[in-house]
Structure formats: structure tokens, C-alpha cells
Symmetry: D3
């Protein structure tokens, strides 16, 4: 019914596009992409799981579906549970208002897909 | 030519996703969803028609297609006429600038679909 | 306690700055400024009062204090009453979320100043 | 050198303005304000400290100084340490880009004020 | 793999929707559409190529895919080269942060399509 | 009449705050600050003057006063003339809409201050 990509298709398309970015990108873009993965990396004061929830909340209030999908997948991989996810998404919803609801719906739809895949 | 959903498909998909949200949502999210319908409800100082136009303008300047579609449908149901709609959308366009034009186009496309359906 | 400008100071500063804009502005900027007043003008399908509330809601969700102040003053001049204002601002708050609260506070503070001035 | 309010003045002004909001606000606004404190409350799956960091990151990327100030104070009260704060703010900076830098500066300025006050 | 429209389809759909806008639009909307083309027009102090890069950077940081596609096509038509494009897009990326990355990817994907079409 | 900082005060306060950021900042923040100056640097395909205008337009449509002030000063230092500035600001205004007008006013006010200082 929904015409969204599966997690596998999402990852494949993301990789295809990253290859095109890297074909044209200069040094600054490459450095920024590298910084973008460093800030979520293990080994600092905050657990990766918390960092991914911070990234998810930021993506939700800024209303970027691809960013939300990415961080929902990462939250799932890092073992965020249903209760933690719903508290983080409640904060996003209250901060960002009803304008975020379509993105919230797609976030939970993706979460539901990931949860169903484990069974 | 366009790959957008029909009004019927839009409503069905919205309902499917709301069910998923409600499966995971905590009390605060449920309360927020309830507040979100209360503010547009009949019985206050402003007619529902005006409230829906306020919701439409807010959605347009914030550039959320699903929110625009929802309020365009509601405006249509509440009997907003062409002249009122175009004045409300002109204000959105001037406030929000050319960056809102792609959303304005889809808003009028949806309006046109709704108008054609009455005939 | 608050260091905000009075309505009179706000209008005076706005005029001073508009003079500077017009000193440098080209034809397109002048035309845009003219369009910006036309969309709120009397004589169309919607009453000016409603148009000003549309402008206020758009300004609130986009979080622009100067724009909010301007439309709050215009709403007051057009005879919007307390009940109508609070319904319009409730819609803005629910659409825009808690991130709009600081602006909502200043909107009501300005409204309160205007209401006090009539007595 | 800076003309910002102290933490005490910020809290006092916030309270003064909340009183004005409550004087005019309808039921929906009051309920929203109540929801806004519930989502950060103790007793759920995530510690209050983490919830406040989520609120801070959301406020930073949405670039709302008053919201940032509020959550910086709450993070400080909940015992967030320098390392945790800087990791959360790094994520905000990378997600939100250089447009957030002026707010990041004021966030650290406030943090520095709070740290200095403990000594 | 990607389900995006080709440049030809994008232009056709844009024209179809513009016809619908013009069917309903009032004078102010028409004037705004006209202003929107005037600001990028030849004959001023800045070359059209630079104006199109300004429009592209604005569209990128505001994260509007249709606007980005439009200006990417115009930049290509005006003879912007790879090095110029990547410098403009680096500035957008640094100003707008990682939240712009999905749009940056699609911008380069479109650029790559245009470059391939010349061969 | 206006309570804004002079260019000298703006630069001094900016430096004071940068020192505080650097006191707390981790490696990623430092690297981002460094990237942020690299993208505007001389030696690439686009002249510094154009890069600064790109930064100005991005700052205007995203409505960040400090960022606008910074790039207006840099545009002035790089020899942008009145005609070039007004064309760049017209594009920002049309893309971003009337919500950018308060920032446009302050941008021209700053420009006017800089122009007056040369005489």
C-alpha cells in the first residue's frame, strides 16, 4: 500500500548516491562526511545508543525522512527498545508540533517493519 | 502523469499509519493527537472554515505536503470557495517565498482534483 | 523588566530601516514590498481581520518576532477579540510545537500591552 | 560585554510571561503546556538527564535561544558533565551546520556561566 | 533503481502544475511568479550563472528538492562547471549541515544525469 | 535608536564567545570550525567574493542575523558593490519571502553602516 523503499533498498540507493557524491565532491565535502560519522562513534562519554537517539530527535524536528530512516535503523541496531523510542519520539513531537506528524508516522512504520523482521 | 495518491488512497494510508503510531505511542503522544483535533473543532469564536484555513497557511509556509493535503481536503469539505482559497494561498506564498512554490503547485493540483470530483 | 521596544518605538525603528532598504533596493525588492501589502488589503473574499490572522499564524509557526509583533498590532487594530486571538494562537502552537513557545509568550505580552493601552 | 540576561533574570522574565500567557490561554494551550513538561518527567525508560539532552539537541538544531537556555540550565541541574554536553552539542552542530554556530556559542557561554557559579 | 523523474518528465509535470496554478491564481500570485523569474534575469550586475548558483545554494539549505532540481538544470544550461558546482555545494553543506545530505545526494545525482546526457 | 552592536563590538563579542567554545569543544567541533573557514577560502574555481555572496544568501534565507552580519562584513571587505549586493539580496528575498524582511532590513542597515564608515 505504501510506496516506500524497504530497508535493503534504502541502503542500496543511499550507497549508489554516495558514490556519485564522492565522484564530484571536493576535500571539504569528504571531510564533512567523515565528521558526520565521527560524532556518532563509540568511545566517548555517551553510549552510541544515546547518540543515535540524539540524531533521530534532531532529524525528526528538522523533518528529514531519509535522516529519520537512517537513525531509526541505527537505533534498532543499537538495541533501543520500544519504550525508549517512544519517549524520544514524544519529545520530538512536542518540540516540533503537529507539522512533524507525517514524519512521525513514517518513523513508526519503519520501526514496525524492523521489529517484524526480527521475528 | 503525476504519481501522487488520490484523496481516497491518501486517507487510507493515513489511517494505516495512525494505527501503527497508536500501537507504539505513549500517553503524551495520544494526548497530543487529541489536542491536534481539538484546536480545529467547532464551537469556539472562529468558524471551522477559518480554522482550517489557518491550518492550511501554517502547513504551506512550513512546507509539509501531507499537512497541506489534509487541510486542503478539510477546506473543501467546509465549503471554502475558490476566491477564499486563493487569498489564503497568496498570503502563504508572499510570507514563505518561492521556496513554497512546489507545495503551492501540489496544493492547487489537489484543489483541482477535489473541484473536478464534485461535478 | 523586559527590554523589548514599545509599539511606538517598534514602528519608528521599522520605518527608519525601511528607508534604508529603499535607498539600496532595486525594482524587484520594491515590487515585492508592494505585493506584501497588497495580499492583506481590503476588498477581496476574506475580511482584512482574517487575512491578518493568517499572517499572524504564518509568522508564529515560522518564529519571526518582528513579523509577529507587526501582525499582532494589525489584528488589534482590526478588532480581533481575545477569544479569536487565542484560537488562532492555539492552532499555531499545536502546528509549530513547543519551539514556538518563546514567541507565543512575546505575542501575548504584546497583546497585553495593546489591551492595556485602550483602557 | 554581552547583554544577555543572567540565569536568574531569565527565569524571572519567563515566569512573568507565562503568567500573561495563562491569563489569555484557552484549554488547549494549557493542556499543551502541561504535555510539554510531562515528556521530560522522571519515571519512564530514559533518565531525565537524557531527555533534557534530547530537548537541548532539538532546540539547537531548530535554533531557539530561549529553548537552548532552558535546556542548558536543566542539563546542568541534572548533572550532565562537560564531556557529555560537548558530544551532544557536536551532534547538533554536525546535523544543523554552521548556521547553528551563533546559538552554539551562546549555549557554551551559558554553560560557562553555570559552571563558574558552582565554584 | 531510483524512482525520480527524468529532466524531461520534471519539466513537463512542472508545466502541467503551473497551468493549474494559473487557472486559480489571483493577481498577486501571478505578479510573484513574474518577480520570481525577474530576479534571475540577465542584464544586471551579476552574471546569470552566478544568480543561478545563488538560487541553488538557497534551495539546498532550505532543502527543497524541486527547487534544487530546477536550479541544477539552470546551472548546467548556464555553463557552470564541476569545480564551481562543488564549491557552491560545499558551502551549502557546511552552512546547512548533515540534514542537507539527502538533498545533496539527489543534487549530484541530477548533475551526473545532465553531464552524462551531453556525451 | 537601534540597539545593535557596532561592527567592532560584534567582532569582539564573537571572539570572546569563540574562546569559550574552544575551551569546551571536542575534536569534531574544532574540525567543523576549521571546515567552515576552508569553504570560503581563496584558490578554488569561484572568487572569494562570490563565495561570500553564496554564504550571505544562505544566511538570509535561513534567517540568522549573526551569520548575515558576518557575511555582509566579508562581502564589504571583498569589494562587493551596491548593485551586486542588491541583486543577491533580491534573490534571497524572493526565495525566502516576507518572513526574511526583518533580516533584510538589518542587512541593509549594516551595509549602510559599512558604506558610511568608508567616507
Amino acid at each position: 500500500m505504501s510506496n516506500r523503499k524497504s530497508v535493503a533498498e534504502f541502503k542500496k540507493e543511499r550507497e549508489r548516491l554516495n558514490d556519485i557524491v564522492m565522484k564530484y565532491a571536493g576535500l571539504e565535502t569528504k571531510r564533512f562526511f567523515s565528521l558526520d560519522s565521527q560524532v556518532y562513534r563509540e568511545g566517548g562519554a555517551l553510549p552510541v545508543k544515546i547518540k543515535e537517539m540524539l540524531g533521530l530527535v534532531a532529524s525528526l524536528v528538522l523533518r528529514c525522512d531519509d535522516c529519520i530512516t537512517y537513525h531509526i535503523i541505527r537505533c534498532f541496531e543499537e538495541g533501543v527498545n520500544d519504550a525508549e523510542l517512544q519517549e524520544a519520539l514524544s519529545i520530538s513531537l512536542i518540540v516540533g508540533g503537529s507539522i512533524t506528524i507525517p514524519h512521525l508516522r513514517r518513523a513508526y512504520d519503519r520501526w514496525n517493519e524492523l521489529k517484524s523482521s526480527e521475528k
